[in-house]
């Protein structure tokens, strides 16, 4: 079965969704992400969806669930590269991506996580 590689760059886990995910690969990816978080203890998780050309309620729910699970473990998730059409679909279908932060691209997503880390440190 095709698997989506999850890379660690500095303190951040990064994955790019480049294949069309069907139910089994999507749920497998969710488990892979959580295991990788536990294994590598990152500061944050970035999911690059710039190659994703369509979204439905299953995929939206899977992203949201994953982010909420990651948060439960102590890691924030940033979704980057949402295409204009995907933003339209999410809004028109009334799909709310609970638990995820969003940023325009990878660079801005990493900066967002960095900022959250600093705020966290400031509170200590």
């Amino acid at each position: 079965m095709e698997r989506v590689p999850i890379l660690k760059m500095g303190d951040t886990l990064i994955l790019t969704i480049q294949v069309e995910l069907h139910d089994e690969t999507a749920l497998r990816l969710q488990e892979d992400i959580l295991e990788k978080i536990f294994e590598t203890k990152p500061q944050g998780l970035v999911i690059d969806v710039s190659a994703v050309g369509v979204v439905d309620s299953f995929f939206g729910r899977m992203l949201s669930d994953t982010a909420i699970m990651a948060r439960t473990m102590g890691v924030e998730t940033v979704l980057v590269g949402i295409q204009p059409e995907i933003a339209i679909i999410l809004q028109e279908m009334g799909l709310e991506l609970k638990g995820v932060h969003t940023a325009l691209n990878l660079e801005k997503g990493m900066a967002l996580l960095q900022g959250m880390g600093e705020v966290g440190n400031g509170e200590d």
Binding site: E20, G53, S57, R61, I89, E92, M93, G94
Partner: protein, 133 residues
């Protein structure tokens, strides 16, 4: 261009096949990118409903041509358990809990120009959606 295409839904990969077929036809008909994506998303939703709730069924994608009007019609049908309360299923946030849905049917309706649903418990469900150019 083939005017009608059919995709059998029996496994989760078929959902991807159905939406690829729909996007291709929408593209060939010269729908804009946003409408292509709306059609593809609605087909994804309906074919996933078939896979999750009925197990098997089929999706038929058609070119519509009525005098000056052109468009696309998609029929998603299954012989699954049927929907006991369609009115409730069309409300935002409703799900039987068997699948990850809830926004699926009302969401697909909002993405398309026309939406019809027929369902009978123990017989099956047929959803017909249309988008005009």
């Amino acid at each position: 261009m083939e005017k009608i295409k059919e995709v059998g839904i029996n496994k989760s990969e078929d959902v991807i096949m159905a939406r690829q077929v729909a996007r291709e036809m929408a593209k060939e008909l010269d729908f804009g990118l946003a409408d292509q994506t709306r059609i593809t998303a609605a087909v994804s939703e309906l074919s996933r409903n078939i896979y999750h709730y009925a197990g098997t069924g089929r999706v038929v994608v058609k070119v519509l041509s009525e005098s000056a009007k052109k468009g696309m019609e998609i029929i998603a049908e299954d012989k699954g358990p049927g929907i006991p309360d369609i009115e409730m299923a069309m409300q935002d946030g409703y799900s039987t809990g068997k699948g990850p849905l809830g926004q699926g049917l009302p969401g697909s309706k909002r993405l398309m120009d026309e939406f019809e649903i027929k369902s009978e418990v123990g017989v099956g469900t047929t959803v017909t959606i249309r988008k005009w150019l």
